[in-house]
């Protein structure tokens, strides 16, 4: 049996993390959180339309995995994509301007919240159809293997997506052809209003890979260091030509599924408990303070710096003009 249970140690027990590293994760996670809060606000003002899915609560997942990636690695995800874009280094201005549907957005305003891409950062979207990104991610990995390089593709999907049939078709071929693909299940416990308990009697998603011979493990997604450690291991397996690998990352979304979700399917207390006890940003913050890696003032300065970046992105997104009407007719054929 290829699959085996994870042994992710608590973050505090990992001594070899430098102050710079910790500070960088803090900043990256905080950027996502503040950016998403701002996006929620702009949505409320009518500047962002349609669907808008926030990533608040799940920040440690992408930040931890990006810490395990190298230049050339690819990533692909669902509509809940703002965090992934910021974490891989895409420009907050371009992301926010896409949210407002403006010329300065990553897709010139034509994609919107769910559909953004960056060739430069090897970010392949931004997909609106639940689980469609999973075979696509396996295909990206196929291309790298074909070309003979050692790049890896991070293919992100949700616990809800994990029940789609195409996931298992992709698993089978990915293992058959040893594709360098890390399948990342962001298990935030809900697919819209459906809890995992109400959608499957096989709740250990990573173990399903065993049926195809794929290795994997479960990871604490509220602990950025645990995510990073698991990511490094997965990436190593894939680079060695022994992929794919499955990471089931246990996480939690604080906000509703999208902006119009009243979230009546869970209690306010459940959300508050997560926020109070498991918040990934607070965890790093307290590590920085208790380890004397930073002072309250240092952190305040970081908060301020992030707030400025986010405010600037909102300004940019408001100022950027709407796309020219000619854009309606471009980019349909190559």
């Amino acid at each position: 049996m290829a699959a085996r249970k994870a042994t992710s140690k608590p973050a505090a027990a990992k001594p070899n993390v430098s102050a710079e590293e910790l500070t960088a994760y803090y900043k990256d996670m905080l950027l996502i959180r503040r950016f998403e809060e701002k996006a929620g606000q702009l949505y409320g003002m009518g500047l962002i339309g349609g669907f808008c899915h926030l990533y608040i609560g799940q920040e440690a997942v992408v930040v931890g995995l990006e810490a395990a990636a190298k230049e050339g690695d690819k990533r692909i995800t669902s509509y809940r994509d703002h965090g992934h874009m910021l974490a891989c280094g895409m420009d907050p201005n371009g992301v926010m301007a896409e949210l407002t549907g403006r010329e300065g957005g990553y897709s010139k305003g034509k994609g919107g919240s769910m559909h953004m891409f960056s060739k430069e950062k090897h970010f392949y979207g931004g997909h609106g159809i639940v689980a469609a990104q999973v075979p696509l991610g396996a295909g990206l990995a196929f291309a790298d293997k074909y070309k003979g390089n050692d790049n890896v593709t991070f293919t992100y999907f949700g616990d809800g997506a994990a029940n789609q049939g195409q996931v298992y078709e992709a698993y089978n071929m990915a293992e058959l052809w040893n594709l360098p693909c890390v399948f990342v299940i962001e298990n935030n416990q809900y697919a819209m209003g459906t809890s995992t308990k109400r959608s499957t009697h096989s709740p250990s998603y990573w173990e399903r890979g065993a049926a195809y011979g794929i290795k994997g493990e479960e990871v604490d997604g509220m602990d950025v260091l645990a995510v990073k450690a698991a990511g490094e291991k997965a990436v190593e397996v894939c680079r060695a030509g022994k992929g794919p690998y499955i990471l089931e990352i246990k996480t939690y979304r604080y906000r509703g599924h999208s902006m119009s979700d009243p979230a009546k399917y869970r209690t306010r207390e459940e959300v508050q408990k997560m926020r109070d006890e498991r918040d990934p940003i607070e965890a790093v913050r307290s590590m920085l303070l208790t380890g004397k890696h930073a002072t309250e003032d240092d952190l305040k300065a970081i908060d301020k710096e992030i707030k400025e970046v986010v405010n600037a992105s909102a300004e940019f997104a408001k100022e950027s003009p709407e796309p020219a009407l000619d854009e309606l007719w471009t980019d349909i054929y190559a």
Partner: protein, 460 residues
Amino acid sequence: MATEILMPALSPTMEEGTLAKWLVKEGDTVSSGDIMAEIETDKATMEFEAVDEGIIGKILIAEGTEGVKVNTAIAVLLEEGEDASAVPTSAPVEAPAPSESPVEVAGGEIPWPLKPAEVAIAATLEPDWPEGTAMKQQTVREALRDGMAEEMRRDDTVFLMGEEVAEYQGAYKISQGMLDEFGDKRVIDTPITEHGFAGIGVGAAFGGLRPIVEFMTFNFAMQAIDHIINSAAKTLYMSGGQMGAPMVFRGPNGAAARVGAQHSQDYAAWYMQVPGLKVVMPYSASDAKGLMKTAIRDDNPVIFLENEILYGKTFDVPDLEDYTVPFGKARIWREGTDVTIVSFGIGMTYALEAADKLAEDGISAEVIDLRTLRPMDTASIINSVMKTNRCVTVEEGWPQGSVGSYISSVIMQEAFDYLDAPVITCTGKDVPMPYAANLEKHALITTDEVVAAVKQVTYR
């Protein structure tokens, strides 16, 4: 600095809402994530969270106020140390009076079907219920639910399955209350597995049940297209008439508002092409209900194409215990002599608006709502074109292989000598749906385009 807290938009289609309840009072300290109020949108009651930290300086809109427009200031937030004198002295914003008109239709009112007295000839002018029937006001959303619920009471082999249909009460609240009434044996939440549950639905239909399969939107039915076409539509034929799939596949179809290319496609022309399927696309609430009941009773797989924007629109619906609308019978919404405008579903909004505008210019348009695309009431189209000698079709889908192009071929084959101008097919633009507000508006069909097309075929 004191900042105003604004009434938020909490759904893609929300323009105003009710400030149901304040959970904070003046003087309270709030921090990001705290729930400040409960707001009722067009779809649900939502919690409104604070984004910034501060102290509630003043509450400007009292709880219980209805019809609060998005972006109205509802409270003032102070920073620590500021006192209430920092509150702008402007008087509290008056709550706008609740709007009287049930649903706004851009550009004018939709005329209710011509009264029987005005009915001239065609059977298609008659309503589908007895003369003198009392009417009540209902949204399309309510009409669809009532149609399903009535049939479920009548026939216990009918059941509803789909994503979020039960406990969540429907992603678009179509199945509101149905879990309570029918229980979880008959109102069934599925995982996100369209191909799987569509296949299970078809199998259940083979096995003698009458499933209603809801797709959260028809965009996701593409995951299940193999079962819809290869399993549901073709089995009766392949089995020499032994077994088929008496079932309904339903859900919202077409563009909503700014949900981008993968969530905004009109599939009318796709499904209309398939023998073995019946295809329904209602516009009004009475048709939504009457056609839903017919669809559930039909022994064939029926594709029932709804529309998110129409869900909230209110129409007169006959106050009858049981009425159905037959398939294959169009409805004439407006009689005219100069041109025939043929449409269906949300396209009717543009068709009727255009007819109003044209009337101002002295052009009399006859407006036909097809209601079902397969079977299609081409006889009524031909009848009308023989009178008006001109035809314009209106739909949101793409131009190549559109519903309109089929209609124009039928007219050419059956009424060629009656035509005084080529048929014009008004459609959505030949592009994936853009997200940007200005581009989306241009990608969709507009009333002005319909007016221009009519002027072209009438040589004005």
